[in-house]
Amino acid sequence: MEQIILGSSLFLVTLMLLSLYRAVKGPTTLDRLMGMNAIGSKTTVLIIMIGLIFGRVEMFVDIALTYGMLNFIAVLAASRYLHKRGLRPMNETTGKE
């Protein structure tokens, strides 16, 4: 069981790296926000897996719940901000309007 959880958490880390590509490269700001949201929802599961590997699940499960709530609130705040600011690509924001 330990090996299964270790292997699946390593696979999750690989998927998080693939999502990070979209968050880094994404042409619009919404793409970056979505990539970070995908990474956060994978992290919530990964924290519980780390707790199972370390044998301290009862502590890590609270951390995972808090992380999920923080991720949700961060996404809500960033998209409320995008309502006001608009959705321009990054290379246009540094140059002229």
Partner: protein, 107 residues
């Protein structure tokens, strides 16, 4: 119970993998958001239910409590993830990002 846990964890990893492939390959923001919102919710559900099955394998009272807390995370993810995806799509539409139509080039 062991086989149930392994099957649920494997199904969750498959859903997450499909969601990540869609996140990388689909042509525009809204289709990628559709993929991210749906498959992240389903992958989280399957993986967390698999971890609940792992916790029930230990057959202790503390393991039962942890399984209940993980189930609360499942409930929270089911409320929060569609709300967050809806809010991102709403922000995109209000700020004037046009949806991709067939025949246009991908962006």
């Amino acid at each position: 119970m062991l086989y149930v846990a392994c099957a649920l964890i494997f199904a969750g990893l498959v859903f997450y993998f499909g969601g990540t492939i869609g996140l990388l390959r689909l042509p525009d923001v809204y289709s990628r958001l559709h993929m991210a919102g749906k498959l992240d919710t389903l992958g989280s559900l399957c993986l967390l239910l698999g971890l609940i099955a792992v916790m029930l394998l230990t057959e202790e009272a503390a393991g039962l409590l942890v399984a209940g807390k993980i189930f609360l995370i499942v409930v929270f993810v089911f409320i929060a993830s569609p709300t967050a995806t809806h809010d991102m799509v709403d922000a995109g539409m209000r700020s004037g990002q046009a949806p991709w139509l067939r025949g246009e080039e991908r962006r």
